[in-house]
């Protein structure tokens, strides 16, 4: 078994929030869907307790960045679907821009070194 990182603190909270927002940019999704999306798109680089997703989802919902709705899943089970609100979209744009600039800056610094 690979060494497991056991604390959600290892993954910056802001990063997790951003990933969730990004995942939901493509449309409404339930928690499991978000987790799967993160696994796949990050090619399992980001290892995190899947449970950590839920406090983050609920926090974002409370902050008004996400809205939620109970609906039927693909296999016709009741599931809670999250989608971005207008505020969520705005937040995503801002955060994405911030990260883009940040990673450019870091890349530049690493190149000059």
């Amino acid at each position: 078994m690979k060494e497991k990182r056991d604390s959600p603190g290892d993954l910056l909270q802001g990063t997790l929030d951003l990933l969730i927002l990004k995942a939901l940019a493509r449309g409404a999704m339930h928690g499991y869907g978000v987790a799967e999306w993160i696994h796949q798109t990050s090619e399992d680089v980001l290892k995190v307790d899947e449970g950590a997703l839920y406090p983050a989802l609920h926090r974002l919902e409370l902050r008004g960045l996400l809205s939620s709705e109970w609906g039927a899943s693909d296999n016709n089970r009741r599931a809670k679907f999250y989608s971005l609100t207008a505020a969520g979209r705005k937040q995503l744009t801002q955060e994405t821009e911030f990260w883009r600039r940040m990673s450019c800056a870091i890349a530049r610094i690493l190149q000059t070194a």
Binding site: Y32, A35, D49, G51, A52, L62, R63, K80
Partner: protein, 876 residues
């Protein structure tokens, strides 16, 4: 930003009412996730049972994540705090013995601190009950009204100022004639203190002149006690020492001048016009108000330059002026600051010991609860949550302990004040006010959190996995918990030693003080003060007639042996005169030696049992018209006749102009203490009342010795006084023993309190060391059983256990010794004839503490030796 916050709060409030729904939905949401993950795992080819486990592993600690998500919707920290609190109450109730010991420890520590703090608060911290009291200063020296008026005119530093002279006036309108306390003041006095009257007004400058109207301002107590609180009192007349005064104002309840109790305020110009114009008679205490922005140093410079001008202007009277200003508060607190701070330090030690005990209890308990903690951690309780739980519990204990302490303190502070230390008697504001409550709350929380954190931390550091596997038998104190408890006990012993040494020094000093010979026998002597009214007793022959008549009546009472003197030892009054001795080279005016001056009538030395060392005492023949005689004390002889026979030598008051009326020394008596047992004796001169030429000395103190306690004596004495003159007030009726005891009140106060703290410290640290050893023994039952089984003697076991305690006691005593050595020096000024490093006290205290510590170890150790090896081996 704000609307976002509002929205969020609203959602949380809504969630409060939708608890079940929220919970159900969250449950469902997580179950859905796990179900999908399990399906996916199975689809990936993982076998059925393993697929479920794997899903759960990937999810992490389900309970914990659920709880954290749940917390998003709640006022999480508040709610879980409430849970912790309820849990804490529950567990405390489940362990009544632990809870009771912890609470008692804290209540004692906090209660003692609160009692002392409430006194410190009242005396040192609370502002004086005057307007802007921080601007008030006192002049250290008394001054005359004339000088005060000049200073008022010339000053640039003071906005206001005024003086007061304390005097007695006779109030004869009540059932018995009594003396009341009058303040002879100028108009500036009440104005400077700045407290407005309850009724009417204060004296105006127009009334404060020679020949001014006879008006008085009265105290609230006088108004209530003597005038029945008459609401129409303004303008009414009060007769004092044969003069009628109109009441113009009533001061509010609780108002007193800074240093004394006063019943009525009257202008000095009106009440005592003869004394007012004398510049050289410095008999007024004066208080001044600094102008805004003026510092004490600037005011001192100002007053010094005024001193210089006055000295130049009036070289005879004021040539040596040197006025010192002191902030009024400092002036009033005087030496009690030192004593209070020492006591506060001491009581702080008591609190530390109580806290150490408390922390020790917590450590022991956390060890006992290790299993529970382990299970909670395994079920998903975070480390932070565990620490917080422990802290909530200790803070809860501390706050309840603090509340109990507050009750103790309320009772304790009353007890403190009933000991009547003189310096504290001037302060009226000693009570449990908001400062005190805040103080209690503060130290309770600090105690709970500060001393709960180490035990909580050591509990949370358990390796939970290991503990769980090993089960109960490993539930012993980890090395860190054990070490912590050892450190705590060592610290307790060290602190207790410091306190015991401090108390020991005070007790030794006090017993030295008590054994000082006052120079007379105070048993069975009653004293009372009389003052002859000036109107009918202005002439000496008239005074002598009264005195002689009274004494003969008193001496005719069966069993009574009476005499009189101007000022009784340990009484409030003291009079000095300067003398010149016949045949000695004359000394410059103003530098003549001073002696205490006393007038007596009757066989005072026999009544007081003051031994006559040489020559004789007075007889009835030493009276008016006979040669002037005097008796002196031994200090007088030592100082003025070190190598000569003083008998037959002659002296006179330095104030008399030649030709001198020499007084001949006919006897020498033993020294008598006047100010206090810890003060040196001044040279003193006794002379007969009947030969005095000072008609203003119209007062006297009766000394009546009886064979034993005599009920009804005081009434009989009063009756005799009033049978001679119905209008003579009697005051200060006290037995000589009480007078002496009052003079020791401050020392007794210090000693009793520090002694009490030390006893408390001793008990607490004994309990602490007993607890540690008893616990250690119970933990080592198994080991002891093994030792016994393989042939160890019970003696060896005893030595093993006691030795461990003895080691701690030894370290504690060594550390305490060095601390005490440094700290007791701070209390040197509180000690009488004992050095702060008194070796006897140190040795005695160390032995006492060692003995107590050994007993505290021995009891559990003995129990250890009774262990039955078979039972011990099966233990657990």
């Amino acid at each position: 930003m704000f609307s976002e916050w509002r929205n969020e709060t609203w959602l949380r409030i809504k969630a409060l009412f939708l608890r079940e729904k929220l919970d159900r939905e969250l449950e469902e949401e997580l179950a859905f996730h796990l179900a999908l993950r399990e399906e996916k795992n199975r689809a990936d080819g993982i076998e059925a049972v393993e697929a479920g486990y794997s899903a759960r592993r990937q999810f992490g600690n389900q309970t914990s994540w659920k709880e954290r998500t749940w917390e998003m919707w709640t006022f999480a920290s508040l709610e879980s705090l409430w849970q912790d609190l309820r849990y804490a109450v529950h567990t405390l109730l489940k362990n009544p013995a632990f809870t009771a010991v912890a609470l008692l420890t804290l209540a004692l520590g906090i209660g003692a601190n609160t009692a002392i703090f409430s006194v410190i608060n009242g005396v040192l911290l609370n502002p004086l009950p005057y307007n802007d009291p921080q601007q008030l200063v006192a002049m250290k020296q008394n001054d005359s009204l004339m000088n005060i008026i000049d200073i008022q005119r010339q000053t640039r530093a003071f906005s206001q100022g005024g003086g007061i002279n304390l005097a007695q006036l006779d109030y004869t309108s009540g059932p018995e004639p009594i003396q009341i306390h009058a303040g002879y003041v100028d108009a500036g006095f009440l104005e400077t203190l700045g407290v407005p009257p309850l009724l009417g007004r204060i004296l105006s400058p127009e009334e404060d002149v020679k020949g001014g109207p006879r008006v008085i301002v009265i105290s609230y107590q006088f108004w209530q006690n003597f005038l029945n609180g008459d609401p129409q009192v303004l303008g009414k007349t009060v007769t004092l020492t044969s003069n009628d005064y109109a009441v113009i104002g009533v001061m509010p309840a609780g108002f007193t001048p800074p240093e004394a109790h006063v019943d009525i305020y009257v202008s000095l110009w009106v009440a005592y016009p003869e004394a007012a114009p004398y510049r050289g008679v410095h008999f007024m205490r004066s208080y001044w108000r600094l102008k805004p922005g003026v510092t004490l140093a600037q005011a001192q410079a100002d007053i010094s330059s005024i001193d210089g001008r006055l000295a130049k202007q009036y070289p005879d009277n004021e040539g040596t002026r040197k006025t010192l200003l002191v902030p009024l508060h400092d002036f009033m607190v005087r030496d009690s600051r030192k004593a209070l701070l020492v006591l506060f330090g001491a009581v702080g030690f008591v609190l530390l010991i109580a806290c150490a005990n408390f922390a020790g209890l917590l450590v022991a308990r956390n060890v006992a609860r290790r299993q529970e903690l382990v299970i909670r951690a395994a079920l998903g309780a975070g480390k932070f949550r565990l620490i917080r739980q422990a802290l909530v519990e200790s803070a809860l204990l501390a706050i309840i302990g603090g509340a109990a302490g507050l009750l103790l303190a309320k009772w304790g502070a009353a007890l403190l004040l009933s000991l009547k230390p003189a310096a504290l008697a001037r302060f009226t504001g000693i009570q449990l006010d908001s400062h005190v409550l805040l103080f209690v709350f503060g130290i309770s929380l600090l105690t709970g959190i500060g001393f709960g954190i180490a035990p909580a931390w050591s509990a949370s550091r358990t390796d939970f996995g290991e503990s769980l596997k090993e089960g109960r038998s490993s539930a012993t104190a980890g090395p860190s918990g054990h070490l912590l408890r050892k450190v705590l006990v060592t610290a307790e012993i060290a602190l207790a030693l410091v306190l015991l040494v401090g108390a020991g020094l005070l007790i030794k000093g006090f017993s030295r003080l008590r054994s000082v010979n006052p120079g007379f026998n105070p048993q069975n002597v009653m004293t009372m003060h009389l003052q002859l009214p000036v109107a009918r007793y202005s002439e000496i022959p008239r005074q002598t007639q009264f005195r002689r008549e009274l004494l003969s009546r008193l001496n005719s009472l069966s069993g009574a042996d009476a005499a009189m003197i101007t000022d009784i030892p340990f009484g409030p009054d003291y009079l000095n005169h300067t003398i010149v001795i016949d045949g000695r080279p004359s000394v410059p005016v103003g530098t003549e030696p001073e002696v205490q001056t006393l007038s007596v009538m009757g066989d005072y030395f026999r009544v007081m049992q003051i031994p006559v060392r040489a020559g004789r005492g007075f007889t009835d023949l030493d009276r008016e018209g006979q040669p002037l005689v005097a008796v002196v004390n031994e200090t007088f002889v030592k100082q003025f006749f070190p190598h000569e026979n003083p008998l037959g030598a002659r002296f006179d008051w330095a104030r008399s102009k030649p030709p001198h009326q020499w007084m001949t020394i006919v006897g020498v008596v033993q020294d008598v203490k006047y100010w206090g047992l810890n003060r040196p004796t001044d040279p003193a001169v006794y002379a007969p009342f009947s030969q005095s030429d000072e008609s203003w000395r119209r007062w006297m103190t009766l000394a009546i010795r009886t064979p034993g306690p005599t009920p009804g004596l005081i009434d009989e004495l009063k009756k005799q006084v009033w049978s001679v003159d119905r209008q003579i007030p009697v005051s200060d009726i006290q037995s000589m023993n009480d007078l002496m005891a009052d003079s020791l009140a401050q020392q007794r106060f210090n000693m009793l309190l520090l002694g009490l703290f030390a006893a408390l410290a001793l008990v607490l640290s004994a309990v602490g060391i007993y607890g540690l050893m008893a616990y250690a023994v119970s933990q080592r039952t198994h080991e002891i059983g093994v030792r016994l089984a393989v042939g160890a003697q019970r003696r060896d076991v005893l030595r093993l256990i006691v030795g461990e305690g003895a080691k701690l006691a030894f370290f504690g005593i060594v550390i305490g010794f060095s601390a005490a050595f440094g700290l007791t020096r701070l209390m040197a000024s509180l000690l009488f004839e004992v050095t702060p490093s008194d070796p006897e006290t140190f040795a005695a205290v160390a032995l006492l503490l060692a003995a107590v510590a050994l007993v505290a170890c021995y009891i559990p150790a003995r129990r250890a030796t009774r262990v039955d090896p078979m039972v011990a081996l099966r233990y657990e």
